[in-house]
């Protein structure tokens, strides 16, 4: 399964006025990796769970905000 967030390190100048944010992240939800949804994709166990997640398929769920801290492997 693909990772849900990617990280990058912007350039930091010695003359920046504010304390730098050294690592920035952006969301890469699973739809970006699925050109066409395959048939028979596994579904959540209960309708309640599916409703809560907003989708029938766990593989298409995208968490936000980032539940993992920087450095941990997510997804």
């Amino acid at each position: 399964m693909s990772t849900q967030f990617k990280y990058w390190e912007p350039y930091v100048s010695p003359f920046d006025p504010c304390p730098p944010i050294r690592i920035k992240s952006y969301s890469t939800p699973p739809n970006l990796y699925m050109t066409f949804q395959p048939t028979g994709l596994a579904q959540f166990q209960t309708p309640r769970e599916a409703l809560h997640h907003g989708t029938l398929w766990p593989e298409l769920f995208s968490p936000y905000p980032n539940p993992h801290k920087w450095g941990e492997q997510d997804g």
């Binding site: 990772t3 990617k6 952006y26 990796y33």
Partner: protein, 189 residues
């Protein structure tokens, strides 16, 4: 900063006196999917996007200004020798009353360019998808202008510009692929 080269990216030749084509071409000058929108969109988005794709936005944004010059040259050639009567007959009477022969950042219907045509969402995926859509819309606009024009020399320049939209769209899609690539993960074979 920029260096200026005093020539067009691709030669512009207009062989028929048809000021009405200028009215249609102005869509690519100051329209929503025109070259000004494209240049300003890319050159603005590049500040907050991951550094891997900043260079691409700088290069394509710069090329869009070269395209803007080509469109401007076409419009100027088509209108510079037109009489007020010819301007009126070409549907450019309203333009003439406001601007004489001056070019203006407006669309084919005369609506002035607005920053509302472009966005900067800050999310790199959303911004690049907008760029891909913008290139496809610009390609379509060139197609409709070519359909309206029967000047083969002018169409030669428009076909060049249409092809550039196709290449830019591919480059932006490649940029998305770079940004969604799983680089942090260790590959196990």
């Amino acid at each position: 900063m920029w260096y200026y080269e005093k020539k067009l990216q691709y030669p512009v030749k207009v062989s028929e006196c048809n000021p009405m084509l200028a009215k249609f071409l102005i869509e690519q000058y100051g329209g929503a999917d025109g070259e000004l929108s494209a240049a300003l969109r890319y050159l603005n988005q590049r500040y907050s996007i991951p550094d891997k794709v900043v260079g691409l936005l700088t290069d394509i944004g710069t090329e869009e200004f070269a395209h803007l010059e080509m469109i401007a040259t076409m419009v100027y050639k088509l209108t510079k020798d037109a009489t007020p009567e010819q301007m009126k007959a070409a549907g450019l009477g309203a333009h003439y009353s406001n601007h004489d022969k001056a070019l203006y950042y407006e669309n084919a219907a005369g609506t002035p360019w607005t920053a509302a045509y472009i966005t900067a969402k800050g999310d790199p995926i959303a911004d690049l998808y907008e760029d891909i859509a913008a290139e496809e819309k610009a390609r379509a606009t060139y197609q409709w202008i070519i359909n309206l024009s029967d000047d083969p020399d002018l169409n030669d320049g428009l076909k060049f510009l249409r092809e550039r939209e196709i290449i830019h769209s591919l480059r932006f899609r490649e940029a998305v692929e770079i940004l969604i690539e799983e680089r942090d993960r260790k590959k196990i074979f």
